[in-house]
């Protein structure tokens, strides 16, 4: 009893984790909360990463510089969401052309003055090709929002003046505005009672849990103090957006239903839970296995699951690095920015199809289909793919492609700028497919320089050195053969049979490598599961029970339910 009592006392001090939203999560959350048309986190400082991911709670720090950005982003977002555009005072613009476009931000009346160099011959005036019926040189027209083409046809034209808007019509409130003020009152006609309802709803969604009346009254203070309800709501919304309850997800060891909903939605969407998840959490039904299964399916089919492809996939496979890698242009002039994007896109679409079609996870290793456009297909030497559009392609048996290991993106990010490295590729496989990273090299052993051994030796001959040195042998005898199997792909992933004049010796070759990985598919499954678990929980985690027979959604459900 006594032990139990002590344990209960210390419990609240253990295992609490505060996850700060990272840049992507911040942008996505603001998007789903307010629907503002920009990415407020674009110039936030870099998020540090740990365990290969940039959503690891312990390394996401909060510097004063970032706090300053949070404040500025909150102001910008709240202003964009709440401040209804007010029509300007009428102003004059002069055009010294007879044919021009005029940008109309506010629908309304505009006075036109057509000035002639001489004479007073009537002019024909048209708006988007529709003539205005008038004999005068000064007249009033009505313009809707847009960028109409105006033409004043006269050989004697000096200039055209437009003055307006008069009787402007305020555009309907934006989607953002409707999300904040959902009582339906027009701008300027809100009531305090309504502000309280709106604020409570905003705070609930921003904090991702029900809010107390004390919290709402605290926020209402801003509204009561302000000159107008809208101004007060703006400041209150700013306060919500810099509150730790918004900026952090705080998770105790044992999650309540709302915390669970947040974990799930940040895992699959990198964003806040939507109404459906929130409701299920409120009804304590989200963790019911059948309901959870249906929700995971729904979430993976939602376009927001693109976040999982980009953030989890891009970091697990390290293809995010493709953005900044610079293969040697002298050796690889084919590597254009277009090709870079195509490689990136192929891997994203392949990952996305596994998610959407809920394929077995073994497809990652050996799927016999991929996504190509004409440029990438030509690069791979695969015929009959035409046009710039990506489409699903069933791979011919002799294509040398299939599965992530043979995708140009992965082969490029695991190479040096000017050449392949069987060591890097071997290490890449051990780390990312087998969860068995080689221990770091012993201290003070300089890295073997693979180029220093002379250009006449094959890479294989050069790397024999690794196994000559007993301090290196243990790990390199695991890494190097894996990497060698992929030597038929050059440093940007193109198939080759020779390196310069020397024939490639790829050992067992890529197909045998894939077969051996498939044979141990439980190892691959545990590896993928532990990467998913680490990403989902924002700390080092694993799922030892994965077997390799799961579909993607089954693995997701296992991870969210059982990962430790």
């Amino acid at each position: 009893m006594r032990t139990l009592f002590l344990f209960a006392l210390t419990l609240p001090l253990l295992g609490q984790t505060a996850h700060r939203l990272n840049r992507y999560e911040y942008n996505a959350t603001i998007r789903d909360l307010l629907a503002v048309p920009f990415q407020p986190a674009a110039d936030f400082p870099i998020d540090d990463s740990g365990y290969g991911f940039d959503n690891i709670a312990d390394v996401l720090s909060l510097s004063p510089a970032l706090m300053e950005k949070y404040l500025a982003a909150a102001e910008k977002s709240a202003r964009a969401a709440i401040v209804a555009p007010t029509p300007p005072q009428p102003s004059v613009q002069r055009f010294a052309a007879s044919d021009f476009h005029y940008k109309v931000d506010f629908e309304g009346d505009y006075d036109v003055l057509i000035a002639l160099r001489r004479g007073s011959t009537p002019v024909t005036f048209s708006i988007d090709g529709v003539p205005v019926e008038t004999d005068a040189n000064e007249f009033r027209i009505h313009l809707g929002r847009g960028n109409p083409r105006l033409v004043a046809d006269s050989p004697n034209l000096a200039y055209v003046e437009l003055r307006g808007p008069y009787n402007p019509i305020t555009p309907p409130p934006s989607e953002s505005y409707r999300r904040v003020f959902h009582c339906g009152h027009p701008p300027g006609h809100h009531t305090l009672a309504c502000a309280r309802t709106n604020l409570a709803d905003l705070a609930r969604r921003a904090y991702r849990r029900p809010v107390t009346s004390d919290e709402i009254e605290g926020l209402m203070h801003f509204v009561k103090q302000a000159d107008s309800i809208e101004q007060g709501m703006q400041v209150a919304l700013e306060a919500i957006l810099v509150s730790p309850r918004f900026l952090f997800r705080i998770e105790p060891d044992s999650l309540d239903d709302f915390q669970f909903a947040s974990r799930l939605s940040y895992f699959l969407w990198s964003s806040m839970p939507d109404d459906q998840l929130f409701e299920l959490a409120a009804q304590h039904r989200l963790r019911d296995p059948e309901i959870l299964r249906a929700q995971i399916h729904r979430m993976l089919l939602d376009p927001k699951s693109r976040a999982l492809v980009e953030n989890f996939g891009g970091q697990w496979l390290q293809t995010r690095n493709l953005d900044s890698l610079q293969p040697d242009p002298a050796k690889f002039p084919e590597f254009t920015n277009d090709l870079r994007h195509d490689m990136q896109r192929e891997t994203q679409l392949f990952f996305q199809s596994i998610i959407r079609d809920d394929r077995p996870i073994s497809d990652f290793l050996a799927g016999n289909y991929t996504f190509l456009n004409q440029r990438l297909a030509a690069f791979y030497g695969i015929p009959n793919v035409e046009g710039t559009q990506f489409r699903r392609v069933d791979l011919p048996p002799d294509s040398h492609r299939g599965g992530i290991l043979t995708e140009a993106s992965v082969l490029t990010v695991s190479s040096y700028p000017a050449r392949t490295s069987p060591v890097i590729r071997g290490k890449w496989i051990l780390e990312n497919l087998l969860d068995s990273p080689p221990p770091p090299p012993p201290p003070n052993v300089p890295k073997l320089d693979e180029t220093a051994l002379g250009a006449t030796a094959t890479v294989r001959q050069r790397l024999e050195q690794h196994r000559a040195n007993p301090a290196c042998k243990g790990c390199h005898s695991r890494m190097d053969p894996l990497g060698f199997s992929l030597e038929n792909y050059d440093a940007i992933g193109r198939w080759r049979t020779h390196d310069g004049d020397l024939p490639i010796d790829a050992g067992a070759g890529p197909d045998a490598l894939k077969q051996s990985l498939l044979k141990d598919q439980d190892r691959f499954a545990r590896c993928l599961a532990s990467k998913l678990a680490t990403y989902a929980l924002g700390r080092k985690a694993s799922l030892p029970t994965a077997t390799g027979n799961e579909t993607f959604s089954q693995l997701v459900q296992e991870v969210i339910t059982n990962a430790q």
Binding site: L13, L14, Q16, T17, A18, D43, P45, I46, D48, S49, G50, Y51, G52, I56, D58, V59, S61, L62, S63, P64, A65, M67, E68, K69, E215, G218, H221, F222, Q225, V235, E238, A239, V242, S243, P244, R245, F248, I250, Q315, Q318, R320, N321, S324, D328, P329, Y416, P417, A418, E431, P440, P441, P442, P443, N444, P446, K447, D449, T451, A452, K540
Partner: protein, 433 residues
Amino acid sequence: MRSSLSRRTFLQGLGAAISLPLLDAMPAATAPLRLAFIYVPNGIFMDQWTPVSDGADFELPRILSPLTPHRDNVLVLSGLTQNTGRALGDAAGDHARASATYLTGVHPKKTDGAGICAGISVDQVAASHVGASTKLPSLELGCEDGRLVGNCDSGYSCAYNNTLSWRTPSSPLPPDVNPRSVFERLFGSLDENPADRLKRLRNEASILDYVLDDTRRLTSRLGSSDHRKLDEYLTSVREIERRIQFAEKDDQQVSPSFEKPSGVPADFADYAKLMFDLMLVAFQTGTTRVSTFMLGREGSIRAYREIGISDAHHPVTHHSGNPDLIEKVVRINTYHMQQFAYFLDKLKATPDGDGTLLDHSLIVYGSGLSDGNKHQHNNLPVLVAGKSGGRHITYPAETPMNNLHLALLDRMGVRIESLGDSNGELNVLSLNA
């Protein structure tokens, strides 16, 4: 200041190990002293860095040659060591440890995420003492977006490679790599009218009051690891409150001498120069007195195409004695130094108090590794630019780099007993004297 000349000449022949008072006659300062650390990654090819002879009669080797016009403003310090950067039982990870120890002198905890921990860095010690009188206590700059994924270095979180500045042992301050964003931190949004600005500042102050209060309620219910993160949050909120109070008093906004940068220049030299310009204008306007600047993150794999090098920086430094690769390393080292020489040009050309901005600055340049090929943490490349220099001093082997940090803090008017693994204050003849 010429009065120190005879003494310096007199002492020229003596070894640096002899204890000397740091400096004697200091003039009444007409401008405050600024402190900056400029960092280059992956070590330096030391054969082309270290002057052959000690004292005042030394030749600038190839990597230092861009500093020829500034020879008399530069002290080259040899023999300093960051022992805490060595493995000390933690095996590989010398790059992560190089940057994590450079300004801290504390052996970092080997972790990829859980419980990152280094030590408070010298710039942050300085900032905590002299920063209260400036709008920003310190300014952290970088020239490389650290978004590369994967393991940063052998089981160390990327936080260790990405920054030099640690506000507390668990709170790294990531560098700002975006010139426009740095500009806005320094000068705010210049197109705002004074009435709007004041209203915004008042709103911000009341918002921060509210969240401070709210956070206290939140922390009273939470466990310990949350507290660490929320303490970070609270510290940051208080820091911003201070800045707002500062801004409210300062109704005449400083107008910088150049336009707001629009983005990140593609050319490395342009990028580095722009960041140096921003540091300079921050010093010049008194916006801060303390800054760090990483020309690249530690372990950087940037390819310096601008000088015709398409290999990534880090692998090239593992040259294993290959002359072609060494040549590339030296060219990268020299290229970095050219950018630094530009900064010294500008500091020297900027009037400040009774002299120039360089007269009132201590600018340390170097790397957390000496030989990048073998990951050496001893005999680090260190130079200090400021009012006076023109000397090469070799210290006894294994002299802690942190002894220099203590000397720099002393010159900044910050007197502390020790920092990290320091075992005394470095005797630096004529450091900014």
